[in-house]
């Protein structure tokens, strides 16, 4: 399945763009996506944390992704 992923903050610098498209085995979960991202972009390993939001909610590693989900990489936040 093809997943469109948005990147913000330092994640945008790491993937060198606002979004990227990944072809993942259907049923891939958030943990699998993180592993794939870290494999392609080792700089993600250096971050203090990396969360994944799906359809505007934080999701845990066991959450399964679907093609139409809005998937966003959330590097450590620093608002305020």
């Amino acid at each position: 399945m093809k997943i469109e992923i948005l990147a913000f903050g330092i994640a945008k610098d790491i993937v060198k763009g606002r979004s990227l498209s990944l072809d993942l085995p259907s049923g891939t979960n958030v943990g699998g996506l993180k592993a794939e991202l870290c494999g392609r972009f080792p700089n993600f390993e250096k971050l203090k944390s990396m969360a994944i939001a799906v359809n505007e909610e934080y999701q845990t590693d066991d959450f399964s992704l679907s093609e139409k989900d809005e998937v966003v990489i959330i590097p450590p936040v620093s608002g305020g």
Binding site: G9, I10, L47, E57, I74, V77, S78, G79, G80
Partner: protein, 145 residues
Amino acid sequence: MITEELRMIDIQLKDTPLIPQECIDYTTSDSAGGSTIFIGTVRNKTKEKPVIRLEFEAYAPMAIAELRKIAEQAKAKWSAEKISIHHRTGVLQIGEIAVVIAVATPHRKAAFEACQYCIDTLKETVPIWKKEIFEDGEIWVAAHP
């Protein structure tokens, strides 16, 4: 009932200067005996290194949803009557306001605690990112251990 809840919480992400009085005006209530306001501004240095300006970026729809969750939690836990949270995006110069949080509660102690909860939780969960620009480079704040 949902509309009633919504009316007591004011969340805004803005790319124009924040006006604390707007948050105060929103939260003013005859039955609230205490109000607190937190104003976060752009500091001129980080670890003694001069900062030139900041840039804030937000994943806007989720940032608004997370801010609303925080306000709802604070409202429930401290019986806050009204909460207003405004946060900036875009480029900010030294001294400009990055965030304003106003909380009105029936009694003063709860107002302090609820306001502190809002800013502390905001810094942990809301998808907003701050980039500090120095004379010789720039850094995404808190990205690395």
